[in-house]
């Protein structure tokens, strides 16, 4: 089959690789129909995530048709399913508590040692995301093997097109989880850093969960425009001092909840970020957490900080005293996707979410390398890319040509 592979920093190539096979009874094999490139794939692209090996198949946002099942799978051939990016057994202590992303079985014995060394405990498994999370092949491919297929995959009714439901795999539940973690009270002002796909779903989720107002922060005009369309007030950090603006918009107290949808590679020409850039080049830090630092300083006393943004290791100049003195509550973590998919599918069917405005491009799987370059370098024009196996190379559709938008 053809598959998108990571070959090194800023090196993505589409290769012919062996097809996946059923290995365990609970496995299923999918034929992929849609697979998106995630913001966190950029951390792999930039080489910020440890534990990648040349030749790894990437991609953790995907859906497709079931073509083969093991004896323990509850799926049937021909069903259309969306697959959560978190691989979860459904039976361990963590899965029973619905902390699916902390699954204690999905990271195999062979790969969990390194994960345990770095994190203190082995992380749960995930598709296409480094060997610290299990070393599973991802879904930017024609086919994928899905372990524990009786637990994760969400069966999709035939009348729902791929674009409406694909994001149940990661960014919709991640935005929802980010807002849930912000413990929003009615009327709250919620500030969201980053208007990428996760930020855009966080904005929608925060409003649905009762926020009185959402203030979104970014610097790309197209992304800010999308945030505004979805109901947020917007701040371009290149035009204002973000903390001053947030204070002045909240009578000096600051937002009740601050959500960091940026993660480890903050943009911005600020002294702390420049220092982080230099240090990252010399491998002395793994993070550039400018947005998170700002969120902690901006948050009101006794407020909540929610961190869906991905971080990989050790951060520098972390405002710990500020966190403590202001009495902030911090919640974070990879999303327990399986906890939310049923509820969110229903909400999509009820028309509660706009899942398609953010999609800027549909492209053939064969054009993945070029698409990663655009996704990395032209974030104003490329707000979300969906790859389609089977499309002929070069058949790229930009947003205005996509029929349903």
């Amino acid at each position: 089959m053809r598959a998108v592979t990571w070959q090194g920093r800023h090196k993505i190539s589409v290769e012919t690789v062996p097809d996946p096979e059923i290995v365990n009874p609970r496995d299923a094999i999918l034929h992929i129909t849609s697979t998106a490139i995630c913001g966190s794939d950029l951390h792999l692209y930039d080489g910020y995530i440890p534990g990648m090996r040349a030749g790894d198949i990437v991609g953790h946002e995907f859906m497709g048709e079931v073509v083969e099942v093991g004896s323990g799978s509850t799926l049937k051939k021909g069903q259309r399913v969306v697959v959560p990016f978190t691989i979860s057994c459904g039976a361990c202590f963590f899965c029973e508590k619905q902390q699916f992303s902390a699954c204690d079985n999905s990271n195999p014995s062979e790969t969990r040692d390194a994960s345990e060394l770095l994190m203190g405990h082995a992380m749960g498994g995930a598709f296409g995301y480094a060997h610290l999370t299990g070393g599973y092949a991802g879904g930017q491919a024609e086919y994928v093997r899905v372990p524990y297929s009786d637990v994760g995959p969400v069966i999709i009714p035939d009348d729902l097109p791929d674009d409406d439901v694909l994001f149940l795999s990661d960014i919709l539940p991640t935005g929802w989880h980010a807002a849930v973690n912000a413990d929003i009270e009615p009327g709250d002002t919620v500030a969201v850093w980053g208007c990428g796909p996760v930020g855009l779903f966080t904005i929608q989720s925060a409003l649905l969960l009762g926020a009185g107002r959402v203030i979104a922060i970014d610097h790309f005009p197209a992304r800010l425009r999308l945030a505004k369309q979805l109901g947020a007030q917007i701040l371009d950090y290149k035009q204002v001092d973000v903390r001053e603006a947030l204070n002045e918009m909240t009578g000096g107290i600051g937002p009740d909840a601050c959500i960091d949808c940026v993660g480890m590679e903050s943009h911005g020409f600020t002294p702390d970020n420049i220092l982080d850039q230099v240090k990252a080049q010399f491998y002395s830090v793994t993070e550039r957490p400018h947005a998170l630092r700002q969120a902690i300083l901006a948050c009101r006393k006794g407020g909540r900080v929610s961190i869906p943004g991905v971080y990989g290791g050790f951060a520098d100049k972390f405002p710990l005293g500020q966190l403590m003195e202001k009495g902030l509550t911090v919640k974070s973590g990879q999303t327990p996707v399986q906890k939310y998919t049923g509820q969110l599918l229903k909400m999509i069917q009820d028309g509660k979410f706009d899942t398609t405005s953010l999609v800027s491009h549909h492209a053939p799987l064969e054009d993945a390398a070029e698409m990663y370059r655009h996704w990395h370098g032209e974030q104003n024009e490329y707000t979300k890319i969906i790859l389609k196996p089977g499309l002929e190379k070069g058949a790229i559709e930009a947003k205005k040509e996509i029929a349903h938008v």
Binding site: V17, P20, D56, Y283
Partner: protein
């Protein structure tokens, strides 16, 4: 694999001089730490403070390599004790080639060692308490002198069972041999820890977790697990 622990994985090759300098400082720091530990341990030995720490976690000098590992398994203690039997060992003990019962609780074990060699152990069960513990001790003809115990204890609040594996053994070829075997992933401690996790996976999920899946690396098969 070489870059697995490094935050710089995949970001070009680091300067070898810098790597050497880092290595030298780490080695120095390690020696300093070892001396400090030795002094501290000597002090602790004199003043015998009671501790609730499991004995295998204490930094006591010991003639044998001592290893202990606990896992929480979300199943009742009786189920797990019943499953911990010779016939099922090949399902989760990856390095065990065969276990041949010799009668009277004694068995001859064939285990995969480093560099494709096989190691033979002859172990006898010294004590078995239903649903609680199984202890063993090697016989003189065993190629590696070893003793050990597996314990099953209720986890609090109906959360399943703590399964603990404790293993003491004379490392073949001493400490250096142990280091070498560790590098080759054929060291008893590494094997036992992984097998214990496979037991947990099998008991909780009904299968041994595998990341077997395709990659663009020619050396790998889509049906074999990889690191």
């Amino acid at each position: 694999m070489r870059n697995l622990f490094s935050p710089s994985a995949g970001r070009g090759t680091p300067d070898p001089l810098a790597v050497a300098a880092v290595g030298a400082s780490l080695a120095l720091a390690g020696i300093g730490y070892a001396f400090w530990r030795r002094t501290r341990n000597a002090e602790t030995d004199r003043d015998d403070i009671a501790t609730d720490a499991p004995h295998w976690t204490l930094d006591k000098p010991s003639a044998r390599a001592l290893f202990g590992k606990s896992v929480l398994v979300n199943r009742p203690r009786t189920d797990l004790f019943a499953a911990w039997k010779v016939e099922r060992f090949p399902e989760f003990m990856e390095n065990v080639v065969s276990v041949e019962p010799l009668g009277g609780g004694t068995a001859r074990w064939t285990i995969k060692g480093p560099m494709g060699r096989e190691v033979h152990l002859v172990n006898s069960i010294t004590e078995s308490i239903e649903n609680e513990t199984i202890s063993w001790q090697s016989e003189p003809e065993s190629e590696i002198a070893n003793s050990g115990e597996v314990r099953f204890a209720d986890a609090p609040a109906g959360r399943g069972t703590y399964v603990t594996l404790i293993l003491a053994y004379d490392p073949p070829a001493g400490k250096l041999g142990r280091l070498g075997a560790k590098l080759l992933q054929r060291e008893p401690e590494v094997q036992a820890r992984r097998d214990l996790h496979r037991f947990k996976q099998l008991m909780e999920t009904g299968e041994v977790t595998s990341n077997a899946s395709p990659s663009a690396r020619k050396s790998e098969s889509p049906v074999e697990p990889h690191i």
